[in-house]
Amino acid sequence: MKIGNLIRLVIFGLLLVFLIQPELFAGFFGLFTKNNQPAIYNQGSLLDITLNHLGIVAAATLASTIIAVGLAIVVTRPFGAEFLPLSRSLANIGQTFPPVAVLALAVPMLGFGTAPTLVALFLYGLLPIFENTLTGLTNLPPAVTDAAKGVGMSGWQRLIKVELPLALPVILAGVRLSVVISLATATIGSTVAARTLGEVIIAGLLSSNTAFVLQGGLIVGVLAVLIYDALSALERFLMKRTGQLGRA
């Protein structure tokens, strides 16, 4: 095992222990408290909140993936080709919109709670996945797509058997981007009363308890790094399997 993976494993282990038995770390986080403040978040189970946070991110990303990949497939087919330039510029404009703004716009329509957060994460997650799927589907090696036509595959068969499998690493890179953005953005969701790790950070800010802020921030950060690395590794594996490493 490489040293990098060893470190990741140790960090993952520490995170698990911390979520299940946070009191074990009370000594460490105690260093950041003043006036006998509690060292460990005490207004709910950290494990529950983390799982809820991950659940919201997973649900939103899954929905964005399905919709964004679907849209990208449509605009790269002959019948949808006229929408390609339009959808490209829409995606580019959308990308310049800060996620907080999306959240702020969703609340008046959906009220407080998990719903506006899900919608904001879903909408913002669409863009990187859409853009990457487009890139993946339009930059396939011409000899390969030519051969796929030449052997007599139908449009549908080419998509399923050749185009999507070859574009998969690039699509996955979009999903990875989207997940990491969502992990961070979900914390803002607790300002509109979604149960996410933002709750821990905000509680810390309100009571000037640096330990809480640190806990919330660390969990989000570590999750983001681990998920990012895991998805990168999966991409590299897929690229290598298809001999595309160094192509994209």
Partner: protein, 311 residues
């Protein structure tokens, strides 16, 4: 039989294939040759409907291909291209099995066919079946590409500069493979190249194209002896003509009686090889060997006559 009937292709007003008509006999090899951009690829891709003609018709065994759905037509026609176009995420075996699978062959028949073809191209099935394309050399990839094109036993094989990326030794080997496979299966081959040497070596007939027009469509001997235009003559290379002519015939067909000493030449060698050997060794005649025994001689005098412009 492939009948190309007054076919034209224009892209936004630019004519890239210009009223081309030619008939390709069944079980023959037709080589389309010409400079870059002369429309060779475009002409060939109209045969399997990868390009739609602007006007004109193409008939295969009498049937207008406009009546056949594109995917169905393509499954009946083998297609091999430069850079092989193998599916990089599928194994060699899966690549070769592509068309049989599309045609719904059963597993056993497909697997047998894959192994048969790999063996035919000197790729040990056990060793190569489960490799991915990027784990092969360029020459091996190219052979898998042709094996895939032949998998479902098509009557017609289209090849677009299939040997463009190969070194001369592997290339010569691949050409011999193609000739023997073509004879074995009786496939009608349409091959695009810009190499006149390759065209003369492989073609039963050669179609010379320039700027979208078909300049000449004839047997190699005819093209060499009577080029239709100065451009065709230039493509053959004026100083190459006698040697190209010699390269078309085998020693076997010009054996004379008589005995001479020295290193023999095989009856299966081309006259060009014999001529080179005669000049190089400074001999007036070479003994000819067939199946290990000397069967006669080939002479410089005879070859000099054969190399002269046919009347």
């Amino acid at each position: 039989m492939i009948e190309i009937d007054d076919i034209t292709k224009a892209y936004e007003g630019t004519v890239v294939v210009d009223h081309v008509s030619l008939t390709i006999e069944p079980r023959s090899i037709c080589v389309i040759v010409g400079t870059s951009g002369s429309g060779k690829t475009t002409l060939m891709r109209m045969i399997n409907k990868l390009v739609e003609p602007t006007s004109g018709h193409i008939r295969i065994d009498g049937q207008d291909i406009a009546e056949i759905p594109a995917y169905e037509l393509r499954r009946r026609i083998g297609y091999a291209i430069q850079g092989h176009g193998l599916f990089p995420h599928r194994t060699v075996g899966q690549n070769v099995a592509t068309v049989p699978k599309l045609l719904g062959w059963d597993k056993k028949k497909t697997a047998d066919r894959v192994d048969e073809l790999l063996s035919l191209f000197q790729l040990d099935p056990a060793e190569f079946r489960n490799r991915l394309p990027h784990e092969l050399s360029g020459g091996q990839q190219q052979r898998v590409g042709v094996a895939r094109a032949l998998a479902a036993g098509p009557n017609i094989l289209l090849m677009d500069e299939p040997y463009g990326a190969l070194d001369p030794v592997i290339r010569a080997k691949a050409q011999e493979d193609l000739l023997s496979i073509q004879r074995k299966f009786g496939t009608t081959v349409v091959l695009v190249t810009h190499d006149m040497e390759e065209a003369i070596h492989l073609g039963d007939k050669i179609a010379v194209m320039d700027k979208g027009k078909l300049l000449q469509f004839a047997k190699p001997e005819e093209i060499i002896a009577h080029p239709a235009t100065p451009f065709v003559a230039e493509l053959i290379g004026t100083s190459e003509r006698p040697f190209r002519l010699l390269s078309l015939a085998k020693v076997a067909d010009h054996i004379e009686a008589g005995e001479v000493g020295g290193e023999p030449i095989e009856a299966s060698a081309s006259l060009r090889d014999a001529y080179a050997e005669l000049l190089w060794s400074g001999r007036p005649a070479l003994p000819v060997r067939r199946d290990g025994s000397i069967v006669g001689q080939v002479t410089l005098a005879r070859l000099s006559q054969l190399a002269a412009r046919p009347q």
